[in-house]
Symmetry: D2
Subunit: 208 residues, 4 copies
């Protein structure tokens, strides 16, 4: 990650596997990033587990905390691709750590008195060898919406295999057509909404 | 409900109690409707349990099915206030019935080949004597997002009492300040987003 | 349903489809019922949508309410197989209706002053053409646990296809081996626990 | 933690706050531990965030991984009090980390060929300044049930304040009566069930 070169889109890859292990989450999020690039949104990717994001709910948990650098990248982006694997039907501990750290933004406002994350758009991406995606999409839509993101229509992207199967997305020879279609819809809708909110930001609700 | 007089906003009250019983859900949703009216969005309210919405996942389940009339009101609205009580920590069976019926819209497209519910904005409203709101907001954001609604930033509104308390929202003497603030934010953001999407609808993702 | 001939096990099939339509939920729950029969627990099945279970949270919602008859069957059983389809990632409106009606049992006690549903064991069964099962199993474990059921180890049974697939469980030529194994585990553990609790019921917690 | 002195009960405190900070989770879990002690189950407590539990889904993630020591304590206990705070409506990243590590137990069996965690009983404990408990109880019941724990009747314990309040459980002058009652029920039922399963373990389901 280079926090000094902000991109219009940011992929937060919340896999449990440090680099350079292959990651199904990376593969699926990468498809979304490519579709966003086609629509003018260049992406930067942060593989969160490679960084020491400390437990806590403050903006900066002090010495050794890598979160402030990641937060700068979040605040510099217009679209955040929030990508998590599925473990025992749930979003990863790394994803939950990011959500906890974003919680600190609730008490932050910009120059116009608006929450710091307003006008940003989120795309939930969930991958697993099996079941859990709808639930996790709900968790991400709720938590990211709470802290200030807008969730476009049909913007979630997921893949999981049949019940109790063990194949990973990274092992598939080809991307299933239904996944490719969902990626296109999510990228198209997120790009549209991010453009609208860039040109016409939310007013300060408490001042309107 | 008068499906022939479309309003810009529609409140779907998913209480279990038929009219004319008092309803905490109605009280909280009414606050949102009033805040939307202040921003130019007149509301119509449908108390779903008063109508015979049949089980199933088709647009019209046949004789005696009241859903087609309610669906017309949904399609005529720009903002849908989706309001549900909390029972055993979950959204009501009436709310789930509505979600199941909206599922049929996944296979419907408009003249531009877009999903029938695109450009509509949803406000999740959840009330309970106790705990469950965040979970239900996630369920509503996921299900309504799946069928085509857009979820604005910080657009959910909820109230619940302390753990294992039994006071209902309708019994409160005054609306808590935090609730009033959340109502203002939700209405302001939903009105802003609905206006943006009216003037600049989502393009057909599969054609872009 | 014959409420006068109590069985040791009760299947609550919460499909949205009235009889005699084929039901994937019925097929999967039937496998569990057969495995319970092998362990001495005869089953009765109630297809809830065939009965007029009225909205509300009282034991008896009055004229035309079919719930009191179903409740008698629940109270007569030692094992309840709670089976629901997956719609938009959630348990069905019929399943939620049952949960709402069971909520009334929270204020009911038996002769020993214990909650009316104590010593009963629940098996969550979830089926869908796609994703949602783990979430729904969590919802069922929480809600059924709240009202008094015990949830055995590894007692949930589910099937869903790959992401965004449309095949139903009832269309599969053969039962997948992983499903058959889960059915065996759930039935074995539920039968063991139901026997233990029949011989040694929970004491009244508030009196111990 | 002293992994060499196994207790009959183990409290896993999944707060985000390292020792010696005060912890609402600790206070509520402590009430459960005291009630278990009254019923003959001595407790040991592990504050997980004080230990370097590495990300991953193997039993031992290698150098510096503190999980193997904690796992020994889990396997030595008959009752696990799984206690988590609520952050943005979800279980903590520390709690999810524990769940991910317990996932490795799915492929472990004991001498009788049974899953390694069979016959153990779990008590979900959830605390938050506001809403989220029912949802998290569902998540814990599902995930802990999947890996082999049994969930007793009415065994969950929680506290949260009114919607959008900020008071912490640790700040309450007195324990609310409803919480005390829930603690008693959970401890009584868990102790009863743990005793039953100690005397009559689950048979190997695949061999029965």
């Amino acid at each position: 990650m280079n926090a000094h070169a902000p991109a219009d889109a940011l992929v937060l890859n919340c896999t449990l596997k440090p680099s350079p292990a292959t990651s199904s989450t990376d593969r699926l999020a990468g498809l979304v990033a490519a579709a966003l690039a086609d629509r003018g949104f260049a992406s930067e990717t942060v593989r969160v587990v490679d960084h020491a994001v400390l437990p806590g709910v403050e903006r900066d948990m002090g010495e050794g905390d890598a979160w402030p650098g990641i937060l700068r990248a979040v605040l510099a982006a217009r679209i955040v691709v929030f990508a998590t694997p599925t473990w025992v039907g749930q979003h990863s501990s790394v994803a939950q750590r990011v959500i906890e750290r974003l919680d600190a933004e609730l008490s932050q406002t910009d120059d116009a008195g608006r929450p710091s994350l307003f006008d940003r758009v989120a795309i939930p991406v969930v991958v697993g060898n099996e079941d859990g995606a709808h639930h996790i999409i709900g968790v991400l839509a709720q938590t990211l919406g709470d802290v200030g993101f807008t969730i476009p229509a049909q913007s979630s992207v997921y893949w999981n295999g049949e019940a109790m199967h063990t194949t990973d997305f990274v092992e598939l020879d080809a991307v299933p057509e239904a996944v490719a279609s969902a990626v296109t819809t999510a990228a198209s809708n997120a790009a549209h909404l991010a453009d609208l909110l860039r040109r016409a930001p939310y007013p300060n609700p408490q001042a309107s």
